[in-house]
Symmetry: C2
Subunit: 266 residues, 2 copies
């Protein structure tokens, strides 16, 4: 039987990763779960994020997925180090791929990291980057208002620019030449971030790297799907399937016809 | 045995109601529950809001409260009409008191209502106002970015003013003289809203009216506490007690020493 790649996120942001998975692995079945009943995770405690993450993983395991991709930086930073090794299925987070890409991209060895409060507080990106190159200077900044702005579709205009200016002050002062967009919502704010930081800044959006890592793992484990297969893609949420469908186009690039509501705990 | 007044909210906003309860009913014990693990409710579906509300009510009933005050406009608008009569204990929402006060306050019979998406979509305030006076013109507007701005403490400055200008355009055009602040977070934005709408606008913050209604019900049912009592006030949350304590001062006017984490479902 054909097994799917499982993907989960606290909400809709993880669809930016799905988009890239579809691009790089067009024959793979994908099962996505967005925990929209409990979104957002980024303002919540480590303990709660871990509990929610385990419930989401168990939901995907019930669907018999062959690999789990955690398409959420908050979960990747906070929960993954603690729970990754509990499970037999390979679990891929968005953290390491993004960090590697940033270390590769920076020329002046100054990297900015932006993300949710939970992600930034965890210092997970700092640790990852320092392991790769301890001489790099890292400036981190939580940008908690970015997610609501993206979800409301306020992707440009004065208000979001004002907010970006405040958040990015320290990165600008430090002269970073590369910024890790450490939250799956942030790629939608690339134009605003470029406007504030200057067009030359390199913005690292980990989705592409994550998909490459998923592909490698599946290849190594001989789990890649044969080319002839016509893929199934299923989307589950814990609340508001209509709201999710509405937002999907913004993140995924196309509309979703069927989104199913489930309770991950049951 | 002394029984407490139970209060719940999706998060920290309900503390504006607690502040008023303490002011009007200084002898009463209060047990507060903030569902910070699942906050915010305002972007979620009716079904999910009802489920969470029932769980919160059951948690307070376990603490043997004598009355439950729903210090959340989203829950009051969406869940309360459906579940209020299931329980023996009196349950007071924030909707009717605010609507009554607004109808009393308006001179030109044009009222603006602002709230979360769920509250505005429910049209609960419109129904309530029309029952009181069908000749009143009502202009409603969801302001989903206001809650994150308040929780981040961005209570003034250009960004929040820009957002307020966009949200309040239709209310300004309609020439409303009274606005119901239909979300417990919004009283903290009074200065910004006045700046956009003009100083003459009457802003209805239902906390005061709710406390008055609670007092009346307790008096009618002979449940008011004797004056000699020194009150206990206990604060429970489903996540992030430290975060909650930190925000409490902004809403309550004083800091909280003890905030206890519990799981309302268990």
């Amino acid at each position: 039987m054909q097994k799917a790649i499982g993907v989960f996120d606290s909400g809709v942001g993880g669809l930016t990763v799905v988009k890239e998975l579809i691009h790089q692995l067009p024959n793979e079945d994908i099962i996505y779960f967005g925990d929209t009943a409990r979104v957002p995770y980024g303002i919540k405690s480590k303990e709660t994020i871990i509990r929610f993450s385990i419930e989401n993983i168990l939901f995907l395991l019930k669907q018999e997925v062959k690999l789990i991709c955690v398409a959420c930086n908050t979960v990747s930073s906070i929960a993954l180090p603690a729970i990754k090794n509990h499970f037999r299925v390979p679990i891929v987070g968005v953290l390491s791929p993004g960090a590697r890409e940033a270390v590769y991209a920076t020329k002046n060895k100054r990297i900015g990291v932006i993300g949710t409060k939970a992600t930034i507080t965890s210092q997970a990106y700092e640790k990852e980057i320092r392991m790769l190159d301890p001489t790099i200077r890292i400036v981190s900044q939580a940008c908690p208002l970015f997610v609501p702005f993206v979800e409301e579709g306020w992707l440009n205009g004065r208000a979001v620019e004002d907010v970006a200016k405040v958040y990015l002050t320290s990165l600008k002062k430090a002269g970073v030449d590369t910024i890790i967009l450490g939250c799956t919502h942030y790629p939608l704010l690339k134009p605003v971030i470029r406007k504030v930081m200057g067009q030359a800044v390199v913005l690292i959006d980990s989705a592409k790297q994550v998909a490459t890592e998923v592909k490698q793992i599946l290849a190594n484990e001989a789990l890649l799907e044969a080319k002839s297969h016509r893929p199934d893609r299923a989307f589950y949420v814990s609340d508001g399937p209509a709201w999710f469908s509405g937002l999907a186009k913004r993140f995924l690039g196309y509309s979703l016809k069927t989104v199913t509501k489930v309770d991950p705990i049951v």
